[in-house]
Subunit: 339 residues, 2 copies
DNA sequence: GGGGTGGCCACAAGCGGTTACATGAAATAA
DNA sequence: TTATTTCATGTAACCGCTTGTGGCCACCCC
C-alpha cells in the first residue's frame, strides 16, 4: 500500500540511489534532477520508511528522554523544551520513565528499552547514584543530563550552589539570623541539586558568620505535602526559624500553607524563599530563585544534536544563569527597626 | 558490533527463523529448543534490532502521543498514565506536540511525523475542529482521543456536561442564584470539554428555573492569568455574581487570586468551583469536580492496545466518572439565613 | 503398510532503504 | 590530441529480521 523509493525512482526515471541522495540533500546530485525527484516524490505523496532507513543506515533519528517523573512541573517543563528542539530538528522523541514514578516502584532495567532504538539519550534529574543511570551511561552512546552532573557526561544545570547562596543571602540581607532549611530527604540517594543547594545554604550562612543549626533542617521530599509537614516541624521548635529556605518551590508552597495554618503571615512573621520559578510561585506570591527550565531542556537537546553531528561531546557542564525574584513571601526580620 | 540473530542461531545450532519464533513466543517451537535459544540469547546479551524487525514485520511497536501542550497539568498527567501502560506493554512512546505550544504557533503538518513510524495514535484534548486532528484521523490508523470526542473515533473522557451540572448544582444548593461562568475562549475552536461544560452549566441553571445571563460569562483561556482577568471582569459588573463556575481549576486559581486582590473571601463573599482536580486545588482550598486524569490516559492506552491486538475499535466513547470535592472556596450565599 | 496428520524446523524471499564501488561523460590539464 | 579529473548516476550488496513454503520424521488409523 505504501509508495516506495522504487516507485519514485521509476516515475522520475532515475535509480533509487539517486532518489535517496536527492531527497536527503546529499551532494553529487544535479540540481535539476534533484528538483524533479522532489517533485515526483511529493506528487506521489511519498514518505520514507524510517524502519528501512534506520536498518540500512544504522541511525535511528531518535532521541530518548529518560525521566523519573512525567507529571511534575520541573520534568514536564524540561521535556517541553526538549520536544520543541527535537521536533525542529526532525528527530523522534522516545519518552520513558524510570524510578518510582507515581509512587510506584519501577526498577526494571532500562537499557533494553533504549539499545538500538535511539541515537542519543537525555536524562532528567535522577540521583547520580541511580543504578539505572549507570546502565544508561554504560550503553556508551551520546548522553547528556539535565539537572544533574555526572563526571565525564555532558550536562546542563543551573549552578545550584550559587542559587542557594543567592536565596540565603537574600534572607540574611533582610536581617534574618535564625535560618531554617527544608531539604529533600535525609541523605539517601540525593539529587545533585539537593546536595548542592544545601551546600550553598551552608556557605552563605558561614560566610555571614552564622551557625548552621542541624535542628533547623527538616525534609520535604520535594512535594507540597512534604514541605507542609517540614514547615510544621520547624514551627514546633522551641525557637523556630524566622526565615526558611526551601530547596524547591513545591516544598515552599507547602511551607506557605503550614504558615497559614498556624496563623502566621508569610513575609511578615516568617519569610520563605524557594528555588525553581514554578508557574504557581507568582500566584502564591513566593520569593524564589528562578531557573529557566524550558531553556534547560532546549539547551541540552541542542547540545546533544551538536554532539550527534560533530561527534564531540561538550564535557564541561553547561551552567545556565538563575535569577532571584523577590515577592511577598520574604520580608525583613520581624521587630527589626526600619524607620 | 551488535550481536545479530544469526549469531544466536549459530550458537544455538538452529536457523534464524527458529530463533525469531522462539524469542517471540510463537507456537511450533519445541520447549527445549526455545529454552536453549533464550539461554544463548541472554548469554550473548542479544538485543533484537527494532528497525529490522519493523521493516520485516510492518509493525513498529510504537504509539504516538499527540498533544497541544506538554508542560500543562492536564496534559502531562494524562501522558504519565499513557506512558505507564505503554511501558508495561513494551511499546515505544513517541511524543509530539502540535498546535500553539508554549505560545508559539506550530501548524506544520503532523502526518509526516507519524506516517510509517507508529502503529497507533493517541490524541490529547485538541479542539475537534483542529486541522491537524483531521490529518491524523485521515491517516486511517488506530487512533483514540482523550478529553475530546470525534464521531467515529474511540475516545476516553469524563462526562463534561454532567461534571459541569454537578458543579453548578452544588452552587445552586448553596443558595446562589446569580451565577457567573469563566469559559475558555469566545467560541473560536472550542475544546469539546469547553462547550460541554458550558452546556452543563446552562442545563443546571435552567433546570433550577434560573436564567443564563450572558453578561456573567467571561473568558479565561484556560490559564491562571486568564482566569484572574476574567474574574476581575466579572467583579466589575454592576451586580457581580455571588458564585462562579470556572471551566478549569487553573482558571479557578486565577479567580481566587482576583478575589483576594479585591479583598473578598472565597467561599464567604464569593464562591468558586472548578473542574479538574488539579494537584494544587487541595492546597488552594478549591472546591472542584475531580476527574481521574492519570486514569484517563491509562484507560485510553489500554483500549488502544486492545484495538491493536483485536483489530476492533471501541467506538462508543468511554466515560470515566467524576467526583465533586467540596472545599473552602464554596459556601452558602452571603446573607442567607442559616440558623 | 500405505496414506494421512501434526509438530518442528530450515530455506530463502522479501521488507525498503543506504552506500561503496563502478561507469561513463564532460571538463580540465598536459 | 591524449591523459586526468570531476561530477552525475547506476549497480548491487548489504542492513537484520519475519514469514510463507516445504521437508522430514514420528505417530496414528484403517
Amino acid at each position: 500500500m505504501g509508495i516506495t523509493i522504487r516507485d519514485v525512482a521509476e516515475a522520475a526515471g532515475v535509480s533509487t540511489a539517486t532518489v535517496s541522495r536527492a531527497l536527503r540533500g546529499l551532494p553529487n546530485v544535479d540540481e535539476r534532477t534533484r528538483r524533479r525527484v522532489q517533485q515526483v516524490a511529493s506528487d506521489l505523496d511519498y514518505v520514507i520508511s524510517p524502519s528501512a532507513s534506520r536498518l540500512a543506515s544504522g541511525r535511528t533519528g531518535s532521541v530518548a528522554v529518560v525521566t523519573p517523573y512525567i507529571a511534575r512541573w520541573f520534568f514536564c517543563t524540561v521535556l517541553s523544551g526538549v520536544e520543541d528542539v527535537l521536533q525542529e530538528a526532525d528527530m523522534d522523541l522516545l519518552l520513558t520513565c524510570i524510578g518510582d514514578h507515581n509512587n510506584q516502584l519501577n526498577r526494571s532495567p532500562v537499557a533494553p528499552r533504549l539499545r538500538r532504538r535511539v541515537d542519543a539519550i537525555l536524562v532528567i534529574a535522577v540521583p547520580p547514584s541511580d543504578p539505572q543511570l549507570r546502565e544508561i551511561i554504560d550503553l556508551g552512546m551520546p548522553t547528556s543530563t539535565i539537572g544533574l552532573t555526572v563526571p565525564g557526561v555532558p550536562s546542563v544545570t543551573i549552578d545550584d550552589v550559587a542559587a542557594a547562596r543567592l536565596a540565603t543571602q537574600h534572607l540574611i540581607n533582610l536581617g534574618h539570623r535564625r535560618m531554617g532549611i527544608i531539604g529533600g530527604s535525609p541523605s539517601e540517594a540525593p539529587f545533585t541539586a539537593e546536595s548542592d543547594r544545601e551546600k550553598g545554604f551552608s556557605q552563605a550562612l558561614t560566610a555571614a558568620g552564622l551557625d548552621v543549626d542541624p535542628i533547623l533542617e527538616a525534609f520535604g521530599y520535594f512535594t507540597i505535602e512534604g514541605g507542609e509537614a517540614a514547615m510544621t516541624a520547624l514551627l514546633s521548635q522551641p525557637t523556630p526559624p524566622t526565615a526558611v529556605f526551601a530547596l524547591s518551590d513545591e516544598m515552599a508552597f507547602g511551607a506557605l500553607r503550614a504558615l497559614r495554618a498556624h496563623g502566621l503571615r508569610p513575609g511578615v512573621d516568617v519569610s520563605i524563599v524557594g528555588v525553581d520559578g514554578h508557574d504557581m510561585s507568582e500566584h502564591l506570591d513566593l520569593t524564589t530563585v528562578v531557573q529557566p527550565v524550558t531553556e534547560l531542556g532546549r539547551i541540552a537537546a541542542e547540545s546533544l544534536l551538536v554532539q550527534l553531528r560533530e561527534g564531540t561531546p561538550t564535557l564541561e557542564p553547561i551552567r545556565v544563569p538563575t535569577q532571584l525574584v523577590v515577592r511577598g513571601s520574604t520580608g525583613p526580620l520581624p521587630g527589626l527597626s526600619r524607620d
